[in-house]
Structures are given as C-alpha cells and as structure tokens.
Amino acid sequence: MADTAPPVEVRGLVKRYGELEAVAGVDLTVHAGDVYGYLGPNGAGKTTCLRMMLGLIRPTEGTVRLWGADPLQTVQALDGVAGFVEAPTFYPYLSGRRNLELLAAFDGGDAGDRIDMALETVELTDRARDKIGGYSHGMRQRIGIAAALLRDPKLLLLDEPATGLDPAGMRDMRLLIRRLADQGMTVLLSSHLLAEVEELCNRVAIVRKGKIVYEGAIADLKRGAGAVYRLSTTNDERALAVCRAQPGLGDIGVVHGKISFTADEPAVADLSQALIEAGALITSLAPQSVTLEDLFFSLTEGDDAVSGVAPATVEAAR
C-alpha cells in the first residue's frame, strides 16, 4: 500500500458487454479524506464502475488503483477497504452474528474482536441471533455497514447506502458517514439523493452514459455555472430580444414563463438600463441559487439546459 498514492485512482476505465459500453473511459481520483459523491442516472455505469474498483469484474480497458494497488492482482489491495455494491448480501440461513463471524474469519486479523462493536453501531445487537432471512431491507443495509466496519476501513465504497432506509435510518447513515469522514476515513458513495450528496460530499463525479461529465469540487462546479437570473418585464417578448442583443449574457432562454440567463453583476446593470430604454419595464429580476440537482440534470439530461444551467456553462467549471 503506497502511502502517497490516492485512495482511489481510476484511469481510462472501460467495460463493454458485447455491443454495450457500460463504462466508457472513466477517469477519477479520490483523495485521502474526501467524501466523494459518484452521481449519475440509472444505467450510467456507476455500479459497474464500483464493482471494478472492488475487483469483482475485470475492466475491458483501463486501470483501478486503491492506495496504489490493483485489486485484480491481489486481494491485499482491498486491505483497509470496505463497502458494498448494490444491496449488501448475506447467508439468509445464518444469523446476523454468524454472518459477521464468517466475514470476520474471512478478514483475518482482529476483525472478530470488532463484531460486538459493529452490531452495537448499527443497533442490531438484540437481533443478532435471528436469521438474516427474516431481516427487513433496512436491517440488511445496517448489517452491511456492520460488515464493513469489521475491516476497520480507511476507504469506504458504498453503493446507494441510504436505499431502503426510513427517514431516521437515512439520517443515521448520513451522520455515520460524516463522523467516519471526520475521523479521516475516505468515503466514495454513489447516490441518487442529490441533496444528501450536496450535504455530505466535498467532491463529486457526475457520470452520463458511462462517461464522466464533471469531476471536481461541488463548490467549483457551482462557481463555474455562473449566476442564473430569472426576469419578468411588462413586455417579455421585447425583453427577450434585448437580452439576446446584450453583451455579457449567456444561456438565454425561457423557463417556467420567465426569461432565464446567466450574467455577472455589471452585465445585469447594463441590461436594466437597456430594458428601460426599450420600454420593457422590469417587474421582477431575481438571482437563482444553483443546486447540485440543477447542475446534475443539466449535465445528464439531453443537450438542452434545464433550469437555466447550460452544460456548456458547467463544462467551463471543469
């Protein structure tokens, strides 16, 4: 394990199933201490990519390195790495404790000493002797976290960790991830819960059709998207023509009946003057806060901007 190597370094990762290209040249780097969100619509190749990171499937092309080691070459690359892909799975005919004992035995070292702590962590001590076949989905998700904690991981790879959890469980999961990250654990998680990712993660990769369309800090992504304004006037048709003629404005369109554009403050001041001169008096002009969700949809849905954030604008943030 190279101490200087990043926890996750993926280069040119491709996975093809016949004609289907599930992952189409992914490059990403997760730095130590990152809480890294891996985002994309269903079928974008997120889970396939996570499976390759864990050495479960072989890339058609490209490389994965975990702390500098290739998980396909040796299972030692997974030392200090834990997590699950899709739903965590266990032997349904064994109890929760037996499953953890089995996995601890497969981990070696002192993993067995952490079973009680892990069960307590996920609040399953009382149900530990019940067969996992009788567990609810949320309980299986929690025992999945317990199984990960047995490895005393430095890197957690979690695929949709909040899936199937009730609101309290989701909150607990969020707090756990935050706490683990605060202790120095690096976390890579895929999620559809964009608000959660925005709250938890410092960096993201957004994947579309197997390709990364953005990788970097969320703050940079938002900054690069520019300020988005919504405008209403006494004559929107004329105002739209003025906007299109006005220098310094970009991504001009109509969203929900209002004119939408991006601009900096001096350009907005000039626009105000131009609108008055054109006889289109402003009835409302408001800057919109860009959410990760806005940016996500603009990057992953078609070529047209949604919510006034154009892909071209976001690309500029890269």
């Binding site: 479960l56 299972v75 899709e86 799975t89 962590t121 609040e123 707090l175």
Partner: protein, 291 residues
C-alpha cells in the same frame, strides 16, 4: 445517533494482520452445510436407502426366485453384502445425485444469493475460496458414501447377521475381512465420485444455477451409462465414467484384480482434472456482476 455515531467515534484503529487461508474457508463451508436443507436431504437419502433396502429384503426374501445379480444369494446370509449391492445399483444415479446436491450448488447458490460479491471483497484470494469450497463439496461426498456404507452394514447385520461373505471369485472371507473389503470398496468408489464432484463444481461455476448444475451433473453420469449400452460402442466401455463406478469389484476377486482400479484412476482423472481446472479458471477470471 445514536449508537451509530457513538460507536463510530469509538472505532478502534487497528491494522491487519494475520491473513486467513484455505482452512478458514473450508471450515466455514462445512459450517454452512450444516444449516442447509439439501445437506440433510442428501445425507438422509444416503442413510435411509440402505434401511429401506434391508426392510425390502426382510419382506421379500421368502419369495426369492433366483440369483439374478452378484451377492444376491448372500443378501440374507450376511449384512456385509448390503452396502455392496447398494453400490451395484446406486452407483450411476443415487450417489452421483447425492454428490451433485452439494457440488452443483456450492458456487451457484452464492450467485443466487448474491453472496459471492460479499466474500470476494474480504481478505481471501479467489483461489483460496475455490479450494475451500471444492474441499467441502468433496468432504460431503465422502461423508455421504461412508454414512450409506455404515448404515448398510449395521442395518444389514441386524437383518442377516455379521457373517462371512463370498467374494466374486467364489471364495469365502471372514466377517472382519469382509468389513475391510466393504470399506476399501467404498474408498475405490470415491474415485469416480471425485470426478462427479469435479463435474458438479464445473457446472455450478459455469451455469450459476443450482438446479441446472445438480440435474446436469446427474444427466452427465446417466449419459455415460447410455453411451455404454449403445450398440457398436462397446470399445468405449472401459473409458466411460460409468464403467469406473464398478472398479471396486476388483477388490472382491481372489487375487485382487487391480487393473479396473488403476484404470479408474486415470480414466476419472481424464474427465475430472479438466473439469476441475476449467471450473477453477472460470472462477478465477469471472465477472461477479449479479446479486
């Protein structure tokens, strides 16, 4: 949060460690077998069939109308004959089926449950997991055969007594010597059964479907039997897997005929080693994309 947060705060930072090996996988595979219904189905069949056979002898021996197969005349004279007759009749289907119940399931069920990805992301190499599972499947087969043999000896002895037996050459051997020959026969019978294990493991790995692997393994065993009875293919007979199920009979001749046993070793290796090697390579290189 509760406990999650609290315990996360208290996590012990400890580095690995002693690495687990094949023995750990083997031990846990045997442990898992104890909790699976198919284990008891197979072992139960291995134990019950000899008992049913002895019960049938008890009610039918008065209506016996001739000596139609080896050892038949001795069925009511010595219990030691029971396991040998069972080997004679159950060789091609019963014990291969019992063997396939676990060998055909041991990888496929992991695919079905999605647990393969769970164990492959721990600290064991794939070859270690494969070896541990293969050894567990083989152990189960050995246990099943010896349970069947032992139950046959006990039930047969209760019915017909623990008496001397006649070998296939016509000589009489004492009961202790007969018992020794019974267990040696079971050992020799394990040679083709090992090949069945290998075929079961191969189908389990390739099909990823437990039912298909179990039925497929049995079908292959029966297919060999079918090929053996096809006209014009008699020359193939010594090289068929089905023929090797009878190699143990060489032990029951005076002097012992080693040639069928030696042939069983290399013929079974001819089928079993490529099957096992293919299963091993497939498992090592396969994508674990399900579950």
């Amino acid at each position: 949060m509760s406990a999650i947060e609290a315990a996360a705060r208290g996590r012990v930072a400890a580095a690995p460690r002693s690495r687990p090996g094949v023995a750990v996988v083997y031990r846990w595979e045997l442990f898992k077998l104890r909790y699976q219904k198919r284990t008891y189905l197979g072992l139960g069949a291995a134990a019950i069939v000899p008992i049913l056979f002895v019960v049938a002898i008890h009610f039918r021996h008065h209506r016996d109308n001739g000596n139609n197969f080896a050892f038949q005349s001795y069925l009511t004279k010595s219990g030691l004959v029971v396991p040998l007759v069972l080997l004679l009749f159950g060789a091609v289907w019963l014990f291969p089926l019992i063997t396939a119940l676990v060998a055909g399931d041991i990888f496929a069920s992991e695919d079905h449950n999605g647990t393969l990805k769970t164990v492959l992301t721990r600290s064991l190499e794939r070859w270690q997991i494969f070896t541990g599972k293969a050894l567990a499947a083989a152990t189960y087969a050995v246990v099943a055969i010896f349970i069947s043999g032992t139950v046959g000896v006990v039930a047969g002895s209760i019915q017909s007594g623990f008496n001397s037996v006649q070998t296939l050459s016509g000589s009489i051997v004492s009961a202790p010597k007969g018992l020794e020959l019974v267990y040696l026969s079971l050992l020799v019978y394990l040679i083709p059964i090992a090949t069945v294990v290998c075929i079961g493991l191969l189908l389990s790995t390739i099909t990823r479907n437990s039912a298909a692997a179990v039925v497929g393994t049995l079908m292959i065993s029966l297919l060999f039997q079918l090929i053996g009875v096809l006209p014009g293919l008699g020359a193939l007979q010594p090289y068929l897997l089905s023929t090797q199920f009878n190699a143990w009979q060489g032990l029951l001749r005076q002097p012992i005929d080693w040639s069928p046993i030696v042939r069983a070793v290399w013929v079974c290796a001819m089928y079993g080693v490529p099957a096992l090697a293919t299963a091993f390579l497939v498992f090592l290189r396969r994508d674990v994309a399900g579950g």
